[in-house]
Amino acid sequence: MIEDWHQPWLNGVELLEDSNHNKHFLPTGYEGIDVLLGGGLCEGQLTEMVGPSSSGKTQVCLYSAALVADKHFGVVMFVDTCNSFSPKRIACIVDQLSSSFSGEAKERRLKRVMSNIFCHSVFDIFALLDVLHQLEFKLKQQVKSGDTKICLLIIDSISSLLTPVLGGKGSEGRLLMVSAGIILKKLANEYNISVLVTNHMVGGEGGILKPALGESWKSIPHVRLQLTRDQGSNICNVSILKHTFMATGRTAKFVIHSRSCSVQDGRGR
């Protein structure tokens, strides 16, 4: 029947119920961002972080991954395209979070967090689409069971996969970009996942930096945040470029803690 060919019809009341029951906010761990976004990253939405290099995007990704895995929200999938995933950094963060615990408990906690983060390395857009299709297939088969369900999908950075295929007169690049956007939003909506992607900046008119990936990408994410960091400082600025229900232009500051932490050997002490 034709009902099989399209998504089900919903009305406003059902949409609200779904939003209240299923679409929770996942904290990033940085208070400035969480307050700005009204709670954190929203499940069911595609959030994009744009910023020049070394503006704190990867740090936010790693911190949210660690926090979400630590607080039992669910499983985190980290798609790494530029070798930015650092288990040492995750260990540092968990160390900070569990500073009041003893050595043994810390070890157990770190193990649990690490086992809840799945990291995939992909280096081109086709591999990414493959990973996403496999994830969709797996989620369709999976019976919903407690907290083993994925709730956060991070792609750092999606622009390094898309920029090589965009550009030129061919339309294949934009097709791949739009297809990736549609799959990400479908995963977010249907399986209550929050998707976080990072993007870099390129030079625009008059030398002003603008987000990469062009005009067609602008209408794909739900939320677009811009990060900037003053040179040599720990304080980052985040401002809203686009949001589904908040005014653009709102800004906040957050502090990235220094990277040094005690390196523990494998056995712990």
Partner: protein, 313 residues
């Protein structure tokens, strides 16, 4: 039946009678935020603009004005009290924004009624006590309105077509359940699957008897479904479209999209000026969408509004 060629020539009614009939059956509506533009049921309106202009916000405000009732428990809201069908092709709809706008409108109506109430009584203080009593009745009105908002998400053109085909029967069911008819058909946004449809190879599927799948044929199918719907059930169609081609991009992409259906066979660029600014963009939707009115008849009226950053609450 005996032939009566003379009666056949004379027609059923005079033009004047027809005009007055149409204006009563399908009156012009001036709904904010589109209240400067006279729109009637049966019109197809495309709202085009670059990405961060407020196109989706216009749809949401128009939807709220449609689902609010004319009057409820003595308070005048000025809405239509009819249903809205929202096709979310961009998959970026946020129900929290819709409920935010709806709640704001309800509060505003309560507040203005409260002000007039106190003015009549001769008091000048704004006392919140009576309004809190009214806030409790909010929920019922709010849920009533939200039930009139029908929503469907589509992830590709085929799902969109299937949803359009199924829309009529679904809207009939809902009309019977709620007792009101559909007024708006909103599509956000019509160009969402452009790149995916362009990549469809114009190859015959299942033998040469089946129609080819290509950008043009998909666009025509969509247009045909909408026309069928408009004939069976007159609604006002609002579609948003993001303008993605800047003025300086290469022309081959847009040219290929028109194919052999376009009569001119050259690129189509549109300009619009608003407060002195010029906005150039390339039309990328196939001409079957643009030429929709010619396919259906002279009752349709095809309008375009070009936005360049308008400010809405």
């Amino acid at each position: 039946m005996e032939e009566n060629p003379r009666g056949w020539i004379h027609g059923d009614e005079t033009a004047k009678a027809m005009l007055s009939r149409i204006l009563t059956e399908r009156p012009f509506l001036f709904l904010p935020p589109l209240h400067r533009v006279p729109l009637r049921v049966g019109n197809v309106v495309e709202i085009a603009g670059p990405s961060p202009s407020a196109k989706s916000q216009i749809l949401l405000h128009a939807a709220v004005n449609c689902i609010l009732p004319e009057e409820w428990k003595g308070i005048r809201f000025g809405g239509l009290g009819r249903m809205v069908m929202y096709f979310d092709l961009d998959c970026r709809f946020d129900v929290l924004r819709l409920s935010q706008i709806l709640k704001h409108r309800i509060m505003e109506a309560y507040r203005s009624t409260n002000n007039t109430y106190w003015k009549e009584k001769g008091e000048h203080q704004k006392n919140d006590a009576p309004t809190t009593h009214m806030y409790l009745c909010d929920d019922e009105l709010f849920l009533d309105c939200m039930r009139r908002f029908l929503y469907i998400r589509c992830y590709n053109s085929f799902e969109f077509l299937a949803a359009l085909k199924a829309m009529h029967s679904h809207s009939q069911r809902e009309s019977e359940a709620l007792g009101v008819s559909v007024h708006f058909l909103m599509i956000d946004s019509i160009g969402a699957f452009y790149w995916m449809d362009r990549a469809c190879q114009p190859m015959p599927i299942g033998g040469s008897k089946r129609k080819n799948v290509s950008l043009q044929s998909l666009a025509e199918a969509v247009v045909q479904e909408i026309c069928k719907l408009l004939q069976m059930q007159p609604v006002l169609v609002l579609a948003t479209k993001a303008t993605i081609f800047g003025a300086g991009t290469s022309g081959n992409d847009a040219q290929r999209a028109f194919g052999k259906w376009c009569s001119e066979g050259k690129m189509d660029s549109r300009t619009s000026s608003r407060e002195g600014e010029k906005l150039m963009y390339r039309e990328y939707m196939p001409s079957s969408w643009q030429m929709k009115l010619y396919l259906v008849g002279n009752m349709e009226h095809f309008l375009r509004m070009h936005l360049n950053g308008c400010s809405l609450h």
